[in-house]
């Protein structure tokens, strides 16, 4: 190598181009074409949604971003995403607040605390739970969780209603609120966050932990000083993957939430909506223009999830570069 690069006059040893034979060229073309097809699909999603959305928004008679109601079938049509955006963000935030600490706890349990005989069946169980379809969570949420959370709702209303957030306007109304949706979403994304976090915890160099132990650290100190700092960016990106899932979840929200175009800080009131829930609920009765309007709201959801997932992936990619760990 050195000789070639210093002598200069010689061209570098020309490697046979990979695709000289017909079979090779065909195969390379096919596989590269598939990769490009994926890019085309992603671009097409953005383009087609944007085209239909612009059509709908241009005919919207009220401000698309600040209107509460969704009346696309009115003449003139009037619809907006204020309530949907608020509901999507709030329910996902509640889900994150509950799910992230618990997921980190479970991942720690599996990797550092559980007896070894329990750890691998547990990891397996979490894998299986990640595969439970969201409609099953939705059915369980709507028929089982909602009545069973009524007690918690009343308790929150009794003791914490001074916060405003946990004030329930009508204590007798069912617990079909954004708060319940948040709890259900948390249950759904715990397996996802746990899976990724667990993998990150596994990659913590054993030497770091042993060094801490050798200095007399307790197990918690080992976790706090060597495991968590190493895994921080992994936990962040795992959480964002979970967030992406929670933002786009349709069925679990559609079955639990009793939707209405009210924007309130009272999380226990059975009002509100999310992007995906609104699309599922309004689709059946939508005419051609109504479908375009729903596509417009879907575009907003797409952009939000794109940003969240892209950020998560960038964090993972950066981490991979300096740690050499594969995710």
């Amino acid at each position: 190598m050195d000789i070639v690069s210093t002598s200069g006059e010689h061209p570098p040893p020309s490697r046979q181009p990979a695709a000289t034979r017909l079979g090779d060229r065909v195969f390379l073309g096919l596989s590269r074409g598939s990769g490009i097809l994926l890019l085309v699909i992603m671009a097409a999603i953005a383009v087609f949604l944007t085209v239909r959305a612009i059509h709908a928004i241009s005919l919207d008679h009220s401000n698309f971003f600040t209107t509460y109601e969704w009346n696309a079938s009115l003449n003139p049509p009037s619809f907006g995403i204020a309530v949907l955006a608020y509901g999507t963000l709030v329910s996902s935030l509640i889900a994150m607040l509950i799910a992230v600490p618990i997921s980190v706890g479970i991942a720690l349990f599996i990797t550092h605390y559980a007896p070894r005989r329990l750890a691998s069946p547990l990891a397996y169980l979490v894998d299986l739970l990640a595969a439970v379809p969201s409609i099953v969570y939705g059915l369980w949420g709507g028929l089982y969780l909602v009545p069973h959370l009524q007690g918690l709702n009343l308790w929150l209303n009794d003791y914490l209603s001074w916060t405003g957030v946990f004030h329930k306007s009508d204590p007798n109304s069912a617990a079909r609120s954004l708060f319940t949706v948040g709890i259900l979403l948390a249950i759904m994304i715990v397996p996802i966050i746990t899976n990724v976090t667990r993998e990150v915890f596994r990659q913590v160099p054993k030497a770091h932990e042993e060094a801490a132990l050798a200095l007399g650290a307790t197990r918690w100190e080992v976790v706090r000083m060597s495991v968590l700092p190493f895994a921080r960016s992994g936990i962040i990106s795992a959480s964002m993957l979970g967030l992406g899932r929670a933002l786009g979840e349709t069925m679990a929200v559609a079955t639990v939430l009793s939707a209405s175009p009210v924007l309130t800080q009272r999380l226990l009131d059975p009002v509100g909506g999310t992007f995906a829930q609104n699309i599922a609920a309004k689709f059946a009765e939508a005419d051609n223009f109504g479908r375009d309007a729903l596509i417009a709201s879907g575009l907003v959801l797409f952009v939000i999830t794109l940003l969240v997932n892209g950020a998560a992936r960038l964090i993972i990619a950066r981490r991979r570069e300096y740690s050499g760990a594969a995710l």
Binding site: G105, V132, F302
Partner: protein
């Protein structure tokens, strides 16, 4: 409970722990269990005395008492650091319990309510001619729909996914590969309803095709592709380079090397990934809701006319909102879970059976 490691350090390493000035005082081995029993007894006592109806609240009170007592007692005997360690241990265990409770409840409820109407009749009949408020009817049409839609989606997504993964691992150098990798990752996060809306805009609104199982399959394929790519990629990376080099050194063209050496070596893992992807899309409801539209009757043709599917059927019966429909919804949910779980178990079985030989 959970103090083996620190014990190894302080006690087992120094057998004469009671005499050594290096060893700390420790609470006896039975103490955590004792505290747990005391906390549960106290928690139940307080709960019963205050007349709290929910046993969940009893549990929470017990948990708080346990953590508090553990901290207090350990801090007194062993010092602050040990106390914190024990509290952290109990919190991690608590996380585990807190997570298991709803998941157990989910499975238990689905199974106990699902078996009520689940029988041969339920599996072999459609909803044709059944009044929704009456018992009867079944999921046959939905099972047909799910199988056809998922099958079509796999036919589209698996080749594209496989080839993309091959490109990324075997050929991918430079910018294009990086961009594809990034967008495959991002694509994994596309919400299913957005994929449905895209096919709606593209296939149904602009190209003017009607609702059909195939339209749903297109959306499912979009959701499935990135999953197949990711898992196949991981598996192809596990194939040792020596195998490729040996084959290339014998003058075998690269494409034949891939087809005859690389793929057979990793076929187990690839199959596993494909089946997990199938399991994932089999439970998707939102695209079916938008594109297949639902049907009470049997429609064997996925290319024309509305169909049903298992997840859609669950949703439809749920929205009917009466007890007979709820029963059917639970039974269909049970069928769906069983389907997904069997796919998962088979996939993992294949993975174990045909684990790639990494040469080590």
């Amino acid at each position: 409970m959970g103090h083996e490691m620190s014990e190894t350090l302080t006690q087992d390493a120094l057998p004469a722990s009671s005499l050594s000035p290096l060893a700390h005082r420790r609470i006896p081995r039975w103490a955590p269990a004792g505290i747990a029993v005391a906390a549960i007894a106290l928690g139940c006592g307080v709960g019963a005395a205050a007349g709290l109806a929910s046993h969940l609240q009893w549990g929470l009170i017990s948990l708080l008492l346990f953590v508090g007592l553990t901290y207090g007692i350990t801090a007194g005997v062993e010092g602050r650091r040990q106390a914190r360690d024990r509290v952290a241990t109990s919190l991690v265990w608590a996380c585990f319990v807190v997570a298991v409770v709803p998941l157990y409840s989910l499975l238990q409820t689905t199974i106990s309510k699902g078996v009520k109407v689940l029988d041969g009749n339920f599996l072999t009949h459609s909803m044709g001619g059944v009044i929704t408020t009456q018992p009867g009817g079944g999921v046959y049409h939905a099972v047909i729909g799910t199988l056809e839609q998922v099958g079509l989606a796999s036919l589209i997504a698996v080749p594209v996914g496989l080839l993309t993964a091959i490109y990324l691992v075997e050929y991918g150098r430079g910018k294009l590969a990086k961009v594809v990798t990034f967008f495959v990752d991002v694509m994994t996060g596309v919400p299913s309803i957005v994929a449905g809306l895209f096919i709606l805009a593209f296939w149904i609104i602009i190209l003017g095709f009607g609702y059909s199982g195939f339209a749903g399959a297109l959306a499912l394929a979009i959701l499935m592709m990135p999953v197949v790519v990711r898992s196949t990629e991981e598996m192809l990376k596990l194939v040792p380079n020596e195998l490729r080099e040996a084959s290339l050194a014998l003058g075998v063209p690269k494409w034949r090397t891939i087809l005859k050496v690389v793929l057979p070596t990793s076929i187990g893992g690839i199959l596993t990934g494909v089946m997990l992807a199938v399991a994932r899309i089999a439970g998707e409801t939102a695209p079916v809701l938008l594109l297949v539209f639902g049907n009470q009757l049997i429609n064997n043709n996925p290319f024309s006319g509305a169909q049903s599917s298992l997840p859609y059927y669950v949703y439809e019966q749920y929205t009917n909102g009466n007890d007979a429909s709820f029963d059917r919804a639970w039974a269909a949910a049970l069928v769906l879970i069983a389907f997904v779980m069997i796919l998962n178990l088979v996939a993992r079985g294949i993975a174990r059976w045909k684990a790639p030989k990494t040469g080590r």
